[in-house]
């Protein structure tokens, strides 16, 4: 513990009085109530930077859709970053009633997606087994839509769902 005495002069180690306390309290409330100048500008810059900032993320192999009527040369490649895949899964699972995703991990073998693991919270009253089944189905459908059936085999890919909590 630090020494709270001081050689700065008499009174430096005395506690503050009620009157002094009131002055400090009023001063602190004044500062706390202010909207800091410049924050609007900071906020705009942060939003702009965040929109342009990608996180470190692994590449995930995908295939071009076949039903667009356009012939795609075999050597052309389509790559989706892992965090885009996670974002799509978050949107899809988050749209389900009664569950909220809290962690999403995409399983990769090299750059091939082989499955996913999700942690979710469920709303109190939800039938947990049913909720987990809906999550699993949604994950498989989303990955197949996003990556293409040739890049993701929904019939064999494991999806691990963990329900971490049931919330009101």
């Amino acid at each position: 513990m630090e020494d709270m005495t001081s050689a700065d002069g008499p009174g430096r180690d005395a506690p503050v009085s009620v009157e002094e306390e009131a002055l400090l309290g009023r001063s602190a409330r004044l500062l706390a109530s202010e909207d800091p100048e410049g924050f609007i500008d900071v906020s705009a810059r942060v939003r702009s930077t965040v929109r342009a900032t990608t996180r470190r993320s692994r590449p995930v192999h995908a295939v071009f859709p076949e039903d667009t009527g356009t012939v795609v040369p075999e050597e052309d490649t389509l790559v989706v970053r892992e965090w885009v895949v996670v974002g799509e899964l978050r949107e899809a699972v988050g749209a389900l009633e009664g569950v909220t995703p809290t962690q999403i991990t995409v399983t990769l073998d090299g750059d091939v997606c082989t499955g996913a693991a999700l942690h979710v919270t469920a709303t109190f009253g939800a039938v947990l087994a049913e909720a987990a089944t809906r999550v699993r189905r949604t994950v498989l459908d989303t990955l197949e839509d996003l990556l293409g059936p040739a890049a993701f085999d929904a019939s064999t890919a494991p999806v691990d769902v963990t329900i971490d909590d049931v919330l009101p």
């Binding site: 009620v18 706390a32 410049g38 900071v42 939003r47």
Partner: protein
């Protein structure tokens, strides 16, 4: 009569605020930019207030807040929810401020003395002082504090962090925070003594 405890925190986060923060942080960690923008809206003003008192240059303070928030966005997947989100954010900002101080050469503390109110004015000078004048006096008094004391006082008294939370932000011990807070309060009172009746 004297009191020895700290004055009440101004903005103690409620349990609901904390739960909302955790939900926003989780969503943002999964790439939800709107959730992160909500975090910026919730905590950005506090971070900016703190930074503006931790460094003397307003533009530098704003840059540091921006750096801290962008760093938070990049590393939200490492936020484990054991600390309050705002404690975690203040910790990132405090680290940025400390790094900035190390990078630049020492800048002498502005030794601006507060403009004393008229001593022979009528009535209770505290009661009649305008908020603007009091705020200017406080800002001047704050500038006379060592940076650690100033940070501790602002985080506890203005932003409402608990002493253990401040210890976590500044990477020190709660006892050290308590000592710094005591000295900061005593010094501020001394600097602002003309405002007392």
């Amino acid at each position: 009569m004297v009191v020895t405890t700290s004055s009440r925190p101004r903005a103690r986060a409620s349990a609901q605020d904390r739960r909302d923060d955790v939900a926003l942080a989780r969503a943002a960690a999964l790439g939800d930019r709107r959730a992160f923008e909500e975090i910026v809206t919730r905590h950005g003003p506090s971070l900016t207030r703190y930074a503006q008192r931790a460094v003397s240059d307003r533009g530098e303070a704003e840059d540091l807040v921006q750096e801290a928030l962008v760093a938070a966005w990049r590393s939200l997947d490492r936020f484990d929810g054991r600390s309050a989100l705002r404690t975690w954010l203040f910790g990132i900002l405090a680290h940025k401020i400390a790094s900035a101080r190390r990078r630049r050469s020492a800048v002498p503390v502005e030794d601006e003395r507060l403009d004393r109110p008229v001593e022979d004015g009528p009535g209770d000078p505290v009661r009649h002082a305008s908020d603007t004048e009091l705020r200017a006096a406080l800002e001047a008094a704050l500038r006379t504090l060592p940076e650690r004391q100033r940070s501790v006082w602002v985080l506890v008294e203005v932003e409402g962090l608990s002493q253990p939370e401040v210890a976590e932000v500044l990477r020190t011990t709660p006892d050290a925070v308590r000592g710094q807070l005591f000295r900061a309060r005593r010094s501020l009172v001394e600097e602002m003594r003309q405002w007392r009746t």
